[in-house]
């Protein structure tokens, strides 16, 4: 048993390095996409202290809107723009209808409000688009198809072009959002709001405006996530479960840290794929789903605030 746990997996890695590289690549692609989803959560949490339970359904809603518009004959590029418009309207509506009336309410109330929002969006999505799965318009969006086969390390490593595109686009998106919120005036305002709503208000920062911006940014992230995951599978309501993959990432990286979301995403992505591939067979497989939480909890024992999360110091 000890041999199977501590020796054999490493022997397998050495014996078939091509499969190790393939597993690492799969983990990297998943990790970048997890990081992107986690970023959507982090942005909203930083600005309003709300854990946005609706992030998953926002992914589905954005992807369905895009594909649904295209089915109605709207050209792909215009469908993307219109979808962004829909996500902006959603952001404004959330700010007006959900957040504004609940200002100064306990965080749990806002959290529950996002639960409500989830079911409203599920219902709305099903009424408008129906429950049938749809195919992502990958070709129309000029996303590449096919595979790059590398004959290396005594075997072959298959790199899907769509996965490469997903990794690149998600990385660019993460960098752009990180820079935007780090170096622009709006970004500084966001950080001020994250530190203290009252202090931010006292220096003239509009909370409402910031909330709209971050919810729109989360909508943008949802659209990109929906396109990428939709291209890997299909666009259906099952996609919302993908957003749950962000939970261990957030536990690991911290709810308030953009770098935490990125590093956390990569650790979880790589960790779960390697664990499933090399250690999964020992327990009959299917460990990927929960091993991410084990990894996150392991980190949490050392750093309770997450890898990059703010240390909470409270005066007693």
């Amino acid at each position: 048993m000890l041999y199977n746990i501590f020796i054999d997996p490493f022997m397998q890695m050495a014996a078939a390095p091509d499969l190790l590289v393939q597993a690492l690549w799969e983990g990297l692609v998943s990790g970048v996409l997890y990081a992107l989803i986690a970023l959507g959560f982090v942005l909203i949490f930083k600005a309003s202290g709300v854990f946005n339970f609706a992030q998953g359904i926002m992914v589905v809603f954005a992807a369905l809107t895009l594909v649904g518009l295209h089915e109605k004959g709207v050209p792909a590029w215009l469908a993307v723009l219109l979808t962004l418009g829909v996500m902006l309207i959603l952001a404004i509506s959330v700010e007006r209808v959900v957040l504004r009336p609940l200002v100064n309410q306990p965080d749990i109330i806002l959290f529950m409000a996002t639960f409500g929002l989830t079911y409203v969006l599920i219902g709305l999505g099903e009424i408008i688009f129906g429950g049938e799965p749809k195919q992502m318009i990958t070709e129309e969006l000029f996303l590449p198809r096919g595979v790059i086969e590398l004959n290396i390390l005594g075997g072959r490593v298959l790199l899907q072009k769509i996965d490469i595109a997903a990794a690149v686009i998600a990385s660019l998106m993460i960098v752009a959002l990180a820079l935007f919120f780090q170096y622009t005036r709006i970004g500084r305002a966001l950080r001020a709001v994250a530190d203290s709503h009252k202090a931010a208000l006292s220096v003239g920062i509009s909370l409402n405006q910031i909330w709209v911006i971050v919810w729109f940014a989360a909508g943008l992230v949802a659209l990109i996530t929906g396109i990428m995951w939709g291209a890997r599978s299909d666009v259906s309501f099952a996609l919302q479960t993908i957003a749950l993959k962000a939970l261990p990432v957030l536990i690991l990286g911290g709810f308030t840290s953009v770098p935490g979301a990125i590093v956390g995403g990569l650790i979880i992505g790589l960790g779960e794929k390697i664990a499933e591939f090399y250690w999964g067979p020992l327990v009959g497989g299917g460990i990927e789903n929960w091993i991410a939480y084990v990894i996150a909890l392991g980190f949490l024992m050392v750093r309770p605030q997450g890898l990059f999360g703010d240390k909470i110091i409270e005066r007693i």
């Binding site: 393939q22 429950g131 195919q135 890997r232 099952a238 919302q240 794929k273």
Partner: protein, 438 residues
């Protein structure tokens, strides 16, 4: 004047009183537990449409079944077991005569209730395989085939493709990590011993349905020769895409009948051509029954289906399921001589179900499916299945009708039924008599 009024009131009451039983007598309540929402709605919508449309067509064309109008009521389960049980509880008091839970999880929950409530369960080609043993499960029916029959047909297909020798071959089962997904494991394990192949299991959690990268990498590592996919919902198109992505020969990936939606294969694009799925009914909209649905239901705006989906695999699956329901009611009417049959009557109808080729022809379904026969002890029939293959635009029949390996499956079913009975203390002994026809 007062007398006149009283007489009029009495006459009106008598009319109403006589009208109510008449209308109640002429109806049969068939609740449909469907899921048009949730993560599995992609498959559920088409089945729900097929079931609803067939029953509605019977109402519109024939005035119901044997003169009894069908009351159709859909209850949304979202493929969620808790909601499914709520649907069961909320509809049973309305006079339900049969249940189609449309989920193995829901089926397992309501099996113990069936004998108590005296309402039979028709879990068509899903649910608990062991419930095919009518001597221990008099209230549960799962024709035309069990998952175990399906797995045995898959192995028969592989045997024929591999020239009868499976020694040294590796066969993988990619399955949803849920009761439904695990169903074929016992029979595949038994067959692995019998035929000498190596069986590998690849469970996929519901949350990982669209994230199967490491599973398919493991399949590549294990050099699996054939894959049987016991998947559902978004798991299936993802499996097809991952197989293509990892260079797994698509014609060696065979799905159970629930992994045979048109959308599942379509997800693979051009490379999805060759994907196989088991099936127990044909596809296509040229059958007179489908044309009648179009004429009496779709064209009149009574359907939620789009015309393009008529004849697709899962739509026809729903039609087939509803046909079994209707035939069970019809048989019950024949046995009892009543129009408004009860759950107990329908149980007898299901037990005497015998749909011959001639009957299929009468129903406008000639060539739609193989004959189905259920009996008092055999609540499944272990009927024939065929391999259907995606030709790039639609499924086509790619094999003859294949008989399940009954010699292996039936003893396993009886053993599992016995085991279920032993584990469920107080499981009632069958007291229901067998009809002559059954």
């Amino acid at each position: 004047m007062t007398r006149k009024l009283v007489l009029s009131a009495l006459a009106a009451t008598a009319m109403i009183a006589s009208a109510v039983p008449a209308s109640a007598e002429d109806t049969v309540f068939l609740p449909l537990l469907t899921y048009r929402t949730g993560p599995f709605s992609g498959s559920g919508v088409h089945i729900a449409n097929g079931m609803h449309d067939y029953l509605r067509m019977l109402n519109e064309r024939d005035g119901g079944i044997g003169g009894a109008k069908i009351i159709i009521e859909e209850c949304e389960t979202g493929y969620d077991t808790k909601k499914g049980v709520e649907c069961y509880e909320s509809t049973k008091t309305k006079g339900a005569v049969m249940y189609n839970p449309y989920s193995t999880g829901i089926t397992l929950q309501i099996i113990p209730k069936a004998a108590v409530d005296k309402i039979p369960i028709l879990s068509m080609a899903y649910g608990l395989s062991a419930s095919a043993d009518g001597s221990r499960f008099p209230w549960v029916f799962n024709p035309p085939v069990t998952y175990w029959d399906g797995a045995s047909v898959f192995i028969k297909h592989v045997l024929s493709e591999e020239k009868g020798n499976l020694k040294g071959k590796t066969i993988g089962l990619v399955h949803l990590d849920a009761p439904f997904g695990k169903e074929p494991i016992p029979v595949l394990e038994a067959m692995a011993k019998e035929y000498g192949f190596n069986l590998k299991l690849y469970p996929i959690a519901a949350a990982q349905m669209q994230n199967q990268g490491s599973t398919w990498l493991a399949i590549r590592r294990d050099r699996v020769d054939w894959i049987y996919n016991q998947g559902w919902g978004a798991m299936n198109p993802t499996a097809v895409k991952e197989a293509i992505k990892n260079g797994f020969p698509i014609n060696k990936l065979v799905g159970v009948w629930w992994a045979g939606a048109d959308d599942d294969a379509r997800a693979g694009g051009d490379q999805g051509k060759g994907y196989k799925s088991l099936n127990f009914h044909n596809t296509g909209a040229n059958f007179p029954v489908i044309q009648d649905i179009k004429k009496y239901v779709l064209d009149k705006g009574f359907s939620k289906a789009e015309a393009s989906h008529l004849g697709e695999n899962l739509y026809n699956r729903g039609v087939y399921n509803a046909m079994l329901m209707a035939e069970a009611v019809r048989t019950a009417q024949k046995i009892t001589g009543k129009k408004a049959v009860t759950g107990e009557d329908v149980r007898r109808g299901l037990e005497a179900l015998d749909i011959t080729e001639a009957r299929f022809k009468e129903m406008g379904m000639e060539g739609f499916a193989a004959p189905v026969k259920v009996s008092c002890t055999d609540h499944n029939g272990h009927n024939k299945v065929f391999i259907s293959q995606w030709d790039g635009t639609k499924y086509v029949k790619a094999s003859d009708w294949i008989e399940p390996l009954k010699s292996i499956v039936r003893p396993l079913i009886e053993e599992a039924a016995k085991d279920y009975e032993a584990k469920n203390t107080g499981w009632p002994k069958r007291t229901e008599a067998c009809d002559k026809a059954a």
